[in-house]
Symmetry: C2
């Protein structure tokens, strides 16, 4: 399970302030704590914290890779950010994210190839976020076909079925879970499957409980990556236990501690 | 989700003592607390607490149905217990349990028919507990065919894929989960699917965490009943949330409290 730490994002107030004040300590502390908690990759997103998103992203990339050796997941709504950020980052990057819309694929697939990056791909197309399982699977197939045409193998893709808030659209989590099960059948080797977990509990109370329950259900269906908060210990415990039950970590009485070591 | 409370079982020391001392209060208190916590049915098992299992079971049935109106699940390793217990119980019983072995089916299927009972059926046959997904599905099919021959419709069956301790057999939970997904395809309407949840964490630390994680994974695959401890609040919370995410309870901010009301 690839845990991508979500905390270095300008939508969080502490990160926003740190970006604006170029406060390295806050970012590096968040980077270290997420890695210690089990994140193998860190999502890096300026959000709306800066009027100069490219410079802010370069600062975030430098600041983070100074502190930790975890992989970075370059995340932005602004396309001009990617090329310089990917140049500045020294490891193998993850790009977050393309959609299944053709013009998005035509931008991100060559970019991923050029930088030997892995690529998160949301099952969204020109009509927006699909509401059915089937439409998600169709867009995933379209993404896989486009990737193959560009020469990007399926296992470099992280297909994301797009988690929506259960508070607003209660029929959607079931479709997301069914889609996860079907994505794995689309190619061999299969693509990775990722979710942006925290979306499920937007505007809900009981956020941690809802997040970790969806995470465990997703793992049961084949989810193998998540953008999530690794500082949520109960969520990490649930994830470790779900993987234990699928025989992916070796059982011992202290399996939680063993995983963390 | 049918929650079958597991606590009235002679293997627990408090229940054992209560059976031996014919202490109604202990049993009725356990019955009421389990029902208040969300159990719709209560498993009733003398275990080895008495040298007179029929009398002890009759006392347990009378004592429990005096206190609560929840359904009773008559559970015994001794066959002579069932007929008198089913006679004494006034509601629609659940019988726990037949296996897929022919002589077991030939005993329990007519018994269930006679008493208009639902029947838990373990995917165990003459060779014991199967280790593969496929063997579990084959035995489930055999059970369903036998039930149809006796005139018992599939929806009166609770097929149990037999949960084994993860501490001893770490490849088994994955087979159990895969089997759950396949059982639902075997008949229309599908049989119910139940697990004896606590077995998964026998001889483990972190019992509650392991139990509730398997429960959530099972629900993701179509599990709709469990023999479990409803007094474990975190497990009930996880179950309620998993069902919420599958759109089986209506979302509201206080969905945990709403379910419990």
């Amino acid at each position: 399970m690839l845990v991508i730490g979500e905390r270095i994002n300008g939508m969080f107030r502490d990160v926003r302030r740190a970006i604006q004040g170029r406060d390295k300590e806050v970012i590096q502390d968040l980077a270290r704590r997420q890695v210690e908690a089990g994140a193998q990759a860190l999502d890096i997103n300026v959000g709306t914290a800066s009027a100069e998103p490219v410079e802010a992203m370069l600062w975030l990339v430098e600041t983070t890779q100074e502190a930790v050796s975890a992989r970075l997941c370059i995340d932005s709504a602004k396309r001009e950010v990617f090329e310089p950020a990917l140049e500045a980052y020294k490891g193998r990057p993850i790009i977050n994210s393309t959609t299944g819309a053709q013009e998005s694929l035509d931008f991100f697939l060559p970019l991923a190839l050029k930088h030997d990056a892995e690529l998160i791909a949301l099952t969204i197309d020109e009509s927006g976020v699909p509401s059915s399982t089937e439409a998600r699977v169709e867009i995933a197939m379209r993404i896989l076909v486009a990737a193959m045409e560009y020469g990007l193998p399926p296992e470099t893709l992280y297909i994301d079925p797009v988690v929506l808030p259960v508070s607003a659209l209660q029929d959607q989590p079931g479709h997301v879970l069914a889609a996860i099960g079907q994505f794995r059948q689309l190619a061999s080797p299969p693509p990775h499957i990722v979710v942006g977990l925290s979306n499920i509990s937007q505007n809900s109370t009981e956020r941690s409980l809802i997040n970790r329950t969806l995470l465990v259900m997703g793992i049961a269906h084949g989810l193998d990556a998540a953008l999530m908060d690794p500082l949520d210990t109960e969520m990490m415990d649930a994830m470790i236990t779900a993987e234990l039950l699928l025989n992916k970590n070796l059982y011992c009485d202290s399996f939680l501690e063993a995983y963390r070591r």
